[in-house]
Amino acid sequence: MRLYEYEGKILAQKVGIPVPAGKMVDSPEKAREVAGEIKGEVVVKAQILLGGRGKAGGVRFASDPGEAEKVTREMLATRVRDRKVEKVLVEKKLEIVEEMYLGITIDEINKRMILLAGKTGGVEVEAIAQKPGAGFARALVDPFIGVPGFRAKELAKHLGATDKGLGALGNIVSRLYALVQKFDASVAEINPLVKTKDGSYLAADCRVEIDDDAIFRQKELESLGIFPREERGREPTELERKGAEIDRVDHRGVAGRVVEFDGDTALIIGGGGASLTVFDAILKYGGKPANYCEIGGNPTVRKLQLLTELILSKPGVKRLAVVTNVLSNTRVDLVARGVIKGMLNRGLDPRNFPVVFRVPGAWEDEGFRILDKYGIKYFDRTHTMDEAAQYICQMGRS
């Protein structure tokens, strides 16, 4: 779960990383108030879950509270990078002399957290990091040792700190790792990490992503006003919202995570790579996916039934494909039960409505018996997902 900048900064403050004075607000009047408290020039930053805000007009300066109110009013009325801006962060404008980069993420190859420190930060950091000699230092973190003081200071030195700066910047390095540990973050990035005219170091921006699988134990987040949410790059459609509700019916298995598309072929698929294969195959044979969704972890029959009803409720859907790779921990018979119940509840006769199953795996014999009883065409594991896709696309046409 990606956090907004202001949320990331709340966590940063919690572990002792200095951030500029400021507050998140959701109205121009409150922006004026906060700017008045800060005194002096402020920066108004759109709170969206995307980078590149500066270039898109999502970061603007204001010299007094009146201007902060005006800027906020304009920002809340517009879209930044095609996102509606619902809140802004009003912060003290800093007198920056240096911009650096500091980040921690997971190194998938070494199976460890990795610290990245760059002498150049700011909006172009990704492009800069690709260039040879870009001045980026990398340090893998041993999970049993963490980030000892000397390692933190080494990175601080790499970033150009000397004397007292070594301690101050070293502390930020250690504390960023503490943030990752404390809040189960998979990414924590300070970009830019700035040095101001008075020699202090602050996190001018802060991007944090919390590991979705750890959110259940991150009780402190809610007490800090940070609530679990699903982010997909745009506001969810009604169908997607309902899909998320279905998945919340109970904790058993996944049957939801719906993404709506403008197509005619409803899909019940298993998520991940196999789903992309199904998408490609459907397109190859002239169909158009109406949705993405995920089933897995042995969801209940009821969840599958509700999911089926939902995706078949989309106008323009002509056919249904239930296609997965070999299921090991999801039972085929339970999938068949749920899908058939969903179809019947929608008033669709499985013998007449174009539907295909290619769901081999656990309890498949029972599943095939159910499908046989309702006259549903199915492919077993000797046939590919591609064949099932070809079949259903032809079915819908005839």
């Binding site: 029959v301 009821r302 039972r331 009883k373």
Partner: protein
């Protein structure tokens, strides 16, 4: 009766009311109503055939029928 599974249990015959079936069922097929164990019709199709209820019922009063 579920579309795919029917779970039968005669509450009148259930003498000791041990509620073992209710305790072991992982998908909530049984409930107590008026002091007696009853089958939740809405949940019958959730039955996974784990047969824990059959195993635990000392009086062998539970019957599971596949409707396919």
């Amino acid at each position: 009766m579920g579309l795919f599974v029917t779970v039968k249990l005669n509450p009148e015959e259930c003498q000791d009311g041990c509620k073992s079936c209710l305790d072991v069922c992982p998908v909530g097929i049984f409930r107590i109503e008026g002091g007696k164990v009853k089958v939740v019709a809405d949940n019958e199709d959730e039955c996974t055939f784990c047969e824990l209820c059959l195993e635990r019922c000392g009086q062998k009063l539970v019957e599971i029928i596949k409707n396919y």
